[in-house]
Subunit: 378 residues, 2 copies
């Protein structure tokens, strides 16, 4: 299902065959939290911006409209009209970051919905059932995302529980994939590595979950407040213990530089709200660095956001027009900028793949890792 085409050091150019099409890693997954990319971008638009995988959020869709409703409407593919691979997270991260009044027990988590305060229980079985209803290509295991910094003893106990939850996830997924009414009976399951910033916990947990022979392995609980260097150190230490022949996914990361550095350390898949969220706040990624599209200097600038970009926005619209749309509060501003930023991220992954294939990723990293974090309009 996953095979390596080329490697350069720890960096991997792979191919990942799924029931909804083949993913070419390293790949960035485009985040459609509630079943739609924020900024009025539709699943049909994703085809024009090199998106490979759409990511949707289990927690949000369970609360609204309800996974049973999505199931009645044919599952996420039919609901959103995206026919490629879809990854759903487990809901765990949102339960721990958004929900209120949560109590964690061995059986799962009791919490109050951030939408209407309704009391909800979610455990491994519930998370798998919801994701099965959503019919995604890849389901994520239900885990506890430990906050950073965390006490060692808490992190250790939590990570053990996440392993026990993972066994239950795997069993429940196997049961659901046997049911005749299941939308995607070939749904894949990725486990999630936790352990806060403690390398020994991280490594032990990765070894434990690797033994379960899942379809892929994610590293969770990073980019949640710790310094970037700590994230890189954890990756340096834990990634070598992830199964070599399975895809590796770094959850919720990150800047273009973060992605380049993580690919360098052996990661294959990414997701992050940064490109779409920053775009809606007029911060745009370019091949010369980071640009603030509302800057006064662009008022009468007829050039595209990025002269090196051939996204639908840059092929058609000027900086002057986009700046005006942002200043006037027009929603089209967000759509044009989100389209550009997602295209930029998806193209970044394409260039990373080409660099690995050509054996030039080391030079690519040295050039672009600092460059893409530079501010161009300071």
């Amino acid at each position: 299902m996953f095979q390596l085409i080329k490697t350069e050091g720890s960096a991997r150019r792979g191919e990942f065959v799924t029931p909804h099409g083949t993913v070419q890693p390293p790949a960035f997954m485009n985040v459609a939290t509630c079943g739609a990319i924020k900024g009025a971008v539709s699943a049909l638009d994703l085809k024009n911006i090199k998106c490979q995988v759409q990511l949707c959020n289990t927690y949000h869709l369970h609360l609204r409209p309800g996974d049973d409703k999505v199931r009645q409407l044919g599952g996420l593919h039919r609901f959103t009209r995206w026919d490629g691979p879809i990854l759903t997270d487990s809901g765990g991260f949102q339960v721990f970051s958004l929900a209120q009044l949560r109590r964690i027990k061995e059986e799962g988590v009791y919490f109050a919905s951030h939408v209407d305060g309704r009391r909800i229980f979610m455990g491994p079985e519930e998370s798998m059932q919801i994701q099965s209803h959503l019919g995604s290509t890849i389901a994520m295991a239900f885990d506890e995302c430990v906050e950073n910094p965390a006490e060692y003893s808490y992190a250790a106990a939590s990570t053990e529980r996440t392993t026990r939850w993972l066994v239950r996830c795997k069993d429940e997924m196997a049961r659901l994939n046997e049911l005749p009414e299941t939308i995607n009976r070939k749904q894949l399951l990725f486990g999630i590595n936790q352990g806060s910033t403690y390398d020994d916990l991280r490594i032990k947990h990765m070894k434990d979950i690797s033994a379960l022979d899942l379809d892929g392995y994610a590293v969770g609980g990073l980019a949640v407040g710790e310094p970037t260097e700590v994230m890189y150190r954890v990756l340096d230490n834990v990634i070598p213990h992830a199964p070599y022949e399975k895809p590796r996914y770094l959850m919720g990361v990150g800047t273009p530089s973060n992605i380049i550095e993580a690919v360098w350390r052996g990661v294959d898949m990414f997701d992050c709200v940064m490109p779409s969220r920053n775009a809606r706040h007029s911060t745009v990624f370019t091949w010369s660095g980071i640009m603030h599209a509302k800057n006064e200097r662009y008022m009468t600038d007829d050039k595209p956001l990025d002269e090196q970009c051939d996204c639908p926005t840059c092929r058609n619209f000027s900086r002057g027009y986009i700046r005006h749309l942002f200043k006037a509060g027009e929603q089209l501003a967000g759509r044009l900028a989100v389209t550009h930023n997602l295209y930029f991220y998806n193209t970044l992954m394409e260039k990373i793949r080409e660099a690995i294939e050509a054996g030039e990723f080391g030079a690519f990293r040295e050039h672009y890792s600092p460059l893409l974090s530079r501010l161009v309009d300071k």
Copy 2:
């Protein structure tokens, strides 16, 4: 420039040749107030929803980004990337409806910007200069839009002044169209009929402005609070006095039924924010009547908004998905609904044209004028 292809009673199927392409009236102009259709719809999308004319607002664009900036960026066509005809209003209506602290003098209007309170003067010459900078296809004359109800004496004096302003508009437009640096030296000018709800004032004013031999004639100051029957009565009385061989434009109107009734009375062109504004508030026009897309009954409805519609939204997305997007506050909801409503309006005009060509507009009117105002989900 304007020629009639077919008539049925007072209804007219015409052809209107402009420097930016031929308009097929009866036509509905799609409103892009600040140079963008609200709801994240771009000028490029307009090509896919049968739009013939884009309408932009002089007042808004003068305040922000400034017509000088739009001019530096090549004019509205290059700015918004719409290559078909563009009509700009004169700013008059917005000065009277949006601006604060306004004082009306013979020379023009002094007012405060609703954006930043800045003191601004706009008279006929300024309005023509701004519209010339914007480079639209059709400029509208600067007029006073009298509120309804209005005192007869005020309406009479105002209408006289609007005629004097029109003469100044015509002279200034002629001067601007001679300047080598003018973006569109073939810019057309439409006069605007006023006179509140007083038929004699309306008729006298229409006769006065008709004598100026302009490129087209609009009826303004209707649909501003008076009963619909009064609007139809004014049209019945004033339209016969508009030049037969020039396009007639009813400003800011209206519902599908209003449009059918006005075409019946001899109107050729329309504009209204209703389809886009209603869409953003989840009210959708269909061939069975008016639909509230957030209604609970659509929660698991896999059908398109309108089963008789083949717009980009209805070809792809379900009521259940669109309802969810509205409930979740996703901007994509507005974009999909605006796309549908504008397509509906543009298709309504197409069907009206076909009905007139076939000599069946009377039957069309009897069937659709009541039907399209019906609520389908009450």
